[in-house]
C-alpha cells in the first residue's frame, strides 16, 4: 500500500530476514555446510505455503460478509422467475450449505480453478490471466525505473549527506511520498492529456491502446499510453527506495574497511562503487522485493484512474458489483504476490549476506 509510514515500513522490511537470521545461524552450526541453508529454505517455503492457505481461507470468508444476494446483482434487477433464480443458484453453487461451498472452493482452487465470474460469465482464471500481462507491463516498467532512480539518488545523497543536493532530494522524496497517487495521476491527466492553458494534450487520457495499430506502431502506441501511469507510480514510489538506500549507506560510511580502502589510495568513486554500495545494498534488496509484491497490489488506484486494463482496475470493477468469485480470486493473487516476493527476499538474503542464515 502506498500509505505506509516510510521508516516503519522499512524497519519491518529490514528486520524481517535479519530477525530470523541468528536463529537460523544457530541451527546451521550443527550440520554440514549447506544443510543449514536447505533447512532454512524448507522452513521459509513451508511458512509461505501456510500463508497462502490462510489467504485462501480468508478470501473465501471475508467476502461472504458483503450484504445482499449475489443473484440479484447477476440479474441486474431484471424481473426473473423463481426457476431462473434457482438455476443461477445451482450454476454458481450457491444452493449448497456454506461448508460445502467452502470445501468445494478450496478443492477447486488447489487445481487452479477459482470459479466463474458473476458478471462476465467466464472463468475467473481467464479474466486474471488476461489482465495479468497488462499489470505486469505497467508495474514492471515502473518498478525498474523507481528502483534504479531510488538507488542512484539514495547513493548520491548519502555520499554527500548534509549538502544541498542531499537535502533537496530527501525533501522531494518525502513530499512525493506524501502525495496520494490517484491525485497525482488526475493532475497529470489534466495538465498533459486534456491540456491546461498553453499546454496541449500530449498523452492519451487512459486505456492501453488506441486500437487499429499493428507491429511497431502498436508498440509505440502502448508506450505512449504507458508514460503517464508509469510516471505517477515512479513519483510516489521511488522515495522509499531512496531513503532506505541512503540510510543503509550512511550506516556503512563509518566502516573501517572504507578507511582502509581509501588508505590504499583508491579513488573516491571506486571506494563507493566497489566497497560501500555492495554492503549497503543488503537491506535495500529486501525492500526491493517487498516493494515489487506491494506494487502489484498497490496499483489498484493508478489503474483505476488511468483506466488501465489490468488486475487493479478489474478488482475495482468486481468490487462494485460485487462479483464474489472474481474479488476472491484477485484478493488471492494480490496477497500471493506479496507472499511470494517476501519469501524470495528471505531466500536470497542469506546468499547475499553470509552472516545471516548459514
Amino acid at each position: 500500500m502506498t500509505a505506509e509510514a516510510t521508516p516503519s515500513a522499512l524497519d519491518t522490511a529490514v528486520a524481517g530476514p535479519g530477525g530470523s537470521g541468528p536463529a537460523a545461524a544457530g541451527r546451521a552450526r550443527s550440520g554440514r555446510p549447506g544443510a543449514g541453508y536447505a533447512r532454512y529454505v524448507a522452513g521459509k517455503l513451508g511458512g509461505a505455503a501456510v500463508s497462502l492457505l490462510a489467504v485462501l481461507v480468508t478470501s473465501f470468508f471475508l467476502f461472504r460478509l458483503i450484504p445482499g444476494d449475489p443473484v440479484k446483482f447477476m440479474t441486474g434487477g431484471r424481473p426473473v422467475s423463481a426457476e431462473q433464480i434457482a438455476a443461477y443458484r445451482r450454476e454458481f453453487g450457491l444452493d449448497l450449505p456454506m461448508w460445502r461451498q467452502f470445501t468445494q472452493y478450496c478443492g477447486k482452487a488447489l487445481t487452479g480453478d477459482l470459479g466463474t465470474s458473476y458478471q462476465f460469465h467466464v472463468p475467473v482464471t481467464d479474466k486474471i490471466t488476461e489482465a495479468l500481462p497488462n499489470t505486469l507491463l505497467l508495474t514492471g516498467t515502473a518498478f525498474v525505473l523507481y528502483t534504479a532512480l531510488g538507488v542512484f539518488l539514495g547513493t548520491r545523497s548519502a555520499w554527500r549527506h548534509g549538502r544541498l543536493g542531499d537535502r533537496f532530494h530527501t525533501g522531494l522524496a518525502l513530499t512525493l511520498y506524501s502525495i496520494p497517487s490517484f491525485w497525482l495521476g488526475l493532475l497529470l491527466i489534466i495538465v498533459l492529456s486534456v491540456g491546461a492553458g498553453p499546454v496541449p494534450g500530449l498523452f492519451p487520457t487512459g486505456g492501453m491502446e488506441s486500437g487499429g495499430k499493428e507491429g511497431f506502431a502498436y508498440v509505440v502506441d502502448v508506450v505512449h499510453h504507458l508514460v503517464l501511469p508509469v510516471v505517477t507510480l515512479v513519483a510516489v514510489e521511488y522515495g522509499q527506495t531512496l531513503l532506505v538506500t541512503r540510510s543503509a549507506l550512511l550506516d556503512e560510511m563509518g566502516g573501517d574497511y572504507l578507511t582502509t580502502a581509501r588508505a590504499k589510495g583508491l579513488r573516491d568513486d571506486l571506494v563507493r562503487r566497489r566497497h560501500a554500495v555492495p554492503n549497503a545494498m543488503l537491506p535495500t534488496v529486501t525492500l526491493i522485493f517487498v516493494n515489487l509484491g506491494r506494487t502489484v497490489a498497490g496499483v489498484i488506484l493508478v489503474e483505476t484512474v488511468f483506466s488501465w486494463p489490468g488486475l487493479g482496475g478489474l478488482f475495482y470493477q468486481a468490487l462494485s458489483v460485487p462479483d464474489l468469485p472474481l474479488v476472491q480470486g484477485l484478493f488471492f493473487v494480490f496477497a500471493a504476490a506479496v507472499i511470494i516476493m517476501n519469501t524470495l527476499a528471505d531466500l536470497l538474503y542469506p546468499l547475499l549476506d553470509p552472516r545471516v542464515g548459514r
Binding site: M1, A3, S8, D11, V14, V55, L174, P180, L184
Partner: protein
C-alpha cells in the same frame, strides 16, 4: 533498528543529576519528584526536538491545520456542506467571491476544504490511535508472555504483515456498512502489525534488564511489570510510531473515500476528490477543483511524517544522522 537506545529518553537517568541538587533540599515527596523528573524529561525532549528544523516546520503546519479544523464551526459553519443552500453557480472558477471556486452544486470550495479537514484529521488520528493501540497491546503481551501465546500472536502478526494492506482495507470497507467508524476500523485493523513487531522487540530488550528481575523478586505481577516498567519504556517508540502512522492513515482515508468507500454524508478531502472526478473536472480541465484538497492531504501527511521522523531521531539518536 529498534535498539535499546530508544529507551534512553524515557528513563529519568539523565535528569537525575539536575534533580539531585533539588532533591537534597527537604520537601519534594516521591510524587513531586517523579513529576519534576517528567517535566525535566519533557523539557529535554523539546530542546532536542527544536534542533530538527524540518520537524519544527511540520509541527507548525500541524498546529495551523488543527486550529483551522477546530475553529471551522466558527469560520465556515456546517451550512457550507449543504447542497440546497449553495451560494454560487455550479463549477465556477476561482474568483474574488469564491477564492477556490465552487463545486458542481455551487458550494464554496474553500469552505468545503476547511470543513473537510475535520473529518480527514479526525479519521487519521482515530485510525492511527486504534492501530497503535492494537499494535502496542499485542507487542507488549507477546514480548512479556513467552511460549505458545506469543507464538500464536506473532504468527497472526506475520500473517497480517503479508496481507496487501490497501487491498485488505478496501475489502473490509466494502464488507461493512458505509460510515466513518468503518473507515477507522478498516485502516486501524490493517496497519497495526509493524507496530506490534517494533513494540515486541523493544519489550524483549527491556525485559532482559536486571531491574525487571528485581521487580519480579519483589513480587511484581504480570500487570505491574507490563504497565509500570515495560509500557513507560516503549511509550516513546509508540509515540513516534503514532505520528508516522497518522500520515499514512490520512492517505488511506483519502484513498478509501476516493474509491467511494467512505461515508457519503460527510465532507472529507478524499471525498471532495471523488466528487471532482464524478463531476467531470478531469475531462473538462477544471484543475482548480482538484488541486486544493490534494494539496491539503499532501501537506498534512508530510507534516506528520516530518514530525514523526524528528521525534524518532530525538528518541533514537543512533538513527539521528542517517534518517
Amino acid at each position: 533498528m529498534t535498539s535499546a537506545e530508544t529507551t534512553e529518553a524515557a528513563e529519568p537517568t539523565g535528569a537525575a543529576g539536575a534533580d539531585g541538587a533539588d532533591g537534597a533540599a527537604p520537601g519534594p515527596g516521591p510524587r513531586a519528584l517523579s513529576w519534576q523528573r517528567r517535566r525535566a524529561s519533557a523539557a529535554r525532549f523539546w530542546r532536542a526536538f527544536r534542533t530538527h528544523r524540518a520537524g519544527v516546520v511540520g509541527l507548525a503546519a500541524l498546529v495551523l491545520f488543527a486550529l483551522v479544523a477546530l475553529t471551522a464551526p466558527l469560520t465556515v459553519g456546517s451550512d457550507v456542506a449543504s447542497v440546497t443552500a449553495a451560494p454560487g453557480q455550479p463549477l465556477q472558477s476561482p474568483s474574488g467571491h469564491f477564492p477556490l471556486g465552487t463545486d458542481q452544486f455551487g458550494r464554496d470550495l474553500l469552505g468545503l476544504v476547511i470543513w473537510g479537514s475535520r473529518v480527514s484529521l479526525l479519521v487519521g488520528l482515530l485510525a492511527a490511535v486504534l492501530s497503535v493501540a492494537i499494535g502496542a497491546v499485542i507487542g507488549i503481551t507477546a514480548g512479556h508472555f513467552r511460549g505458545w501465546y506469543a507464538t500464536v500472536l506473532m504468527r497472526v502478526t506475520d500473517w497480517f504483515l503479508v496481507m496487501p494492506t490497501l487491498v485488505l482495507a478496501i475489502a473490509l470497507a466494502t464488507v461493512l456498512s458505509r460510515s466513518l467508524g468503518t473507515v477507522v476500523l478498516a485502516i486501524g485493523v490493517t496497519t497495526w502489525p509493524t507496530t506490534a513487531r517494533l513494540v515486541r522487540a523493544q519489550t524483549l530488550a527491556v525485559e532482559s534488564r536486571p531491574y525487571i528481575e528485581r521487580a519480579k523478586a519483589l513480587g511484581g505481577g504480570h500487570w505491574h511489570i507490563m504497565s509500570r516498567h515495560v509500557l513507560p519504556n516503549v511509550m516513546p517508540l509508540v509515540l513516534a510510531q503514532t505520528t508516522l502512522i497518522i500520515s499514512s492513515a490520512i492517505l488511506a482515508e483519502a484513498t478509501l473515500a476516493f474509491l467511494g468507500l467512505g461515508d457519503p454524508t460527510v465532507v472529507s478531502w478524499g471525498g471532495l476528490l471523488q466528487d471532482a472526478r464524478e463531476a467531470g473536472a478531469v475531462s473538462s480541465g477544471d484543475w482548480w477543483y482538484l488541486v486544493p484538497p490534494g494539496i491539503a492531504i499532501a501537506v498534512v501527511a508530510l507534516a506528520f511524517t516530518l514530525c514523526g521522523r524528528a521525534v524518532e531521531s530525538v528518541l533514537n539518536p543512533r538513527l539521528g544522522v542517517s534518517r
